[in-house]
Amino acid sequence: MSDAVVPHRLEPNAQASRSGTGWLKRALDSDIFYSFRRSRMTMVAAAVTILFFLLAIFASQLSVQNPFDPAQLQLMNSRISPLWTAEGQSPFLLGTDEQGRDVFSAILYGLRISLVVGVLGVVLAGTLGITLGLIAGYFGGTIDGLILRIADVQLTFPAILIALLVNGVAKSVFGNRLDAMSTLAVLVVAIGLSFWVQYARTVRGSVMVEKNKDYVAAAQLIGLPAPKIIFRHVLPNTMGPILVIATINLALAIITEATLSFLGAGMPDTMPSLGTLIRIGNNYLFAGEWWIVAFPGIALAGLILSINLLGDWLRDALNPKLR
């Protein structure tokens, strides 16, 4: 019965992209788009995710101050509660923290850092994983065994532990006082090194399967170099699963960054990410200054929830069996 259903087309491929409008029509008619339209939750999640990205991109235009610039902070403005409460003061919509930092502005800038670290971490993990997966799958043998072994061992350790270790070692090697940008780079590396395994396994699996297929042999017979075949034919086939992994990993990467920062092993107080803001705010929770921790927390939870919803939907849409 399933053969009556139009095959999934996530991306324009050779067949569908012959004409631009034809491709659009196909995309709008695809099962993916259908399931997207049918799930209101997914549409909301997509909208919220886009909103968060826009907020991060236009952070400097939307905020009332640059929370990273100590010169713009005034201690007399510290610990102001949100605007709608009795002690609220304009322009501090969501109140201020103990340094007089506007919580709303800090969230926008923190969001930017969280997203940058998350996206770069996922890109690094993806690049690393796909490359290693291609190498393992294509060459096989000893190198394949080695990569698999490393992946196996690493898979038993939670990402957060690996990230913490990388972070600790980096601190030790570069000295305890890393500047904020270097910390950011360390975080990206830590996340990239923690999440590559899934990509590598997925890509390796597909390469192994495709490698032995007749069309590869045929392509080799007519003189196409094997790496070209892998890149042109095998890699595109794995793009669906990779996209699902990447989406879910983005949420995980953002959580990991926030957790590291919360644990004091991530972004410093002078250039706080959402996790840092929550750590700072947590100290004021007992004093009843809930807004310092609550709003960054809500922003973080909302962001991760939306991305996870997108990821869940994408996984189900690409894998009709699970529906």
């Binding site: 019965m1 053969d3 009556a4 259903v5 259908y34």
Partner: protein
């Protein structure tokens, strides 16, 4: 005439997809008498298995029985509440599936699975059920059943596992056995044994058997009557000898022509051009018309109903002697 064990009348089964409703079974009618073996043949996708599942009430959503009636020994069973049809399954209708390797739960001893089934349907004690289980295993030809009863499914070969599956299907003395491709997954050497086992059990217990297969050889060997299915309909139904030796429907002709025989070695095997239409693209009129060498105008417009023709019933306009007359009749 006695009441047939199974009587199916104008059965229609639909599958709802998001684009359309696909009709997997479209107006199928047939009877099976006590002790009779009805073979159901056709290409994959012709609706053979779905018919079997419909009878036993195992069509799962998005599929459903859209219309028609199913009678078991005169009682209508197609609209029973789930709990009542559940009581009929296994007790009055036994089912054998295609793949014995996956039909048994790998984590339970086969004895436990048989005893469980017996005790679900019969009021027997644990010991009595176990004794019956051993007898059943002996009857289906498992050597040393009192020892093998405590083995796990993976400790049996494919053929032996199918025997266990058959023991499970007959453990409550059903009136009807539905065997869905019972030999397809087995080695050729084992196939014959399983077929003769099913045949013997049917004869010994007076059980009616609905044997679904795409293997004409199996049908010819076992069945009393045969129904040839094509894209959700019965093309031709009749006594097995008559249908095999003198098929009427062009599709049945093609099907019989595609069987190699030992005698006619000089004959080329006949091939039917094209393939069965997809459920989403069934042509109007007779669904076989695009592949039929004898198709004429009426075949492209009018859907033929099975009409009695000698010992057969055949759904083909070529044999409709009185066009327009809705003398709908089915072979009993």
């Amino acid at each position: 005439m006695t009441v047939p064990v199974l009587s199916v009348r104008n059965l229609e089964v639909e599958f709802l997809t998001r684009r359309s409703t696909l009709r997997a079974i479209n107006g199928v009618s047939f009877d099976i008498a006590k002790g009779e073996v009805l073979g159901v043949v056709g290409e994959s996708g012709a609706g053979k298995s779905v018919t079997g599942l419909a009878v036993i009430g195992l069509i799962d959503p998005p599929g459903r029985i859209a219309s028609g009636e199913i009678y078991l020994s005169g009682t209508r069973i197609d609209h029973l509440p789930p709990e009542e049809i559940r009581r009929i399954r296994g007790k009055r209708i036994g089912m054998i599936f295609q793949d014995p390797l996956t039909s048994l739960n790998p984590l339970y001893r086969i004895g436990d699975q048989i005893v469980e089934t017996i005790r679900t349907h019969m009021n027997l004690s644990e010991t009595a059920a176990r004794k019956r289980a051993i007898d059943l295993l002996a009857e289906v030809g498992i050597p040393a059943p009192e020892k093998r009863i405590d083995a796990y499914p993976h400790e049996f070969s494919g053929g032996m596992r199918q025997r266990v599956v058959i023991a499970l299907a007959i453990c409550a003395e059903p009136e009807l056995i539905i065997a869905d491709e019972p030999t397809t997954a087995l080695d050729v050497s084992v196939q014959a044994q399983i077929i003769s086992l099913i045949k013997r059990l049917g004869r010994d217990h007076g059980t009616a058997v609905m044997l679904v297969t795409h293997d004409m050889g199996v049908i010819a060997e076992t069945s009393d009557r045969v129904a040839v299915m094509y894209s959700g309909r019965i093309a031709e139904i009749g006594p097995v000898q008559d249908v095999v030796q003198n098929p009427l429907h062009p599709y049945a002709k093609g099907l019989m022509g595609a069987i190699p025989t030992l005698a006619g070695e000089d004959k080329r095997l006949v091939q039917i051009p094209g393939s069965m239409p997809r459920l989403s693209a069934i042509p109007p009129g007779c669904s076989f018309n695009p592949r039929c060498a004898f198709a004429f105008d009426r075949c492209r417009v009018d859907r033929p109903e099975p009409l009695k023709h000698g010992s057969h019933a055949v759904a083909c306009h070529l044999f409709d002697t009185a066009p327009g007359e809705a003398a709908k009749e089915t072979a009993a």
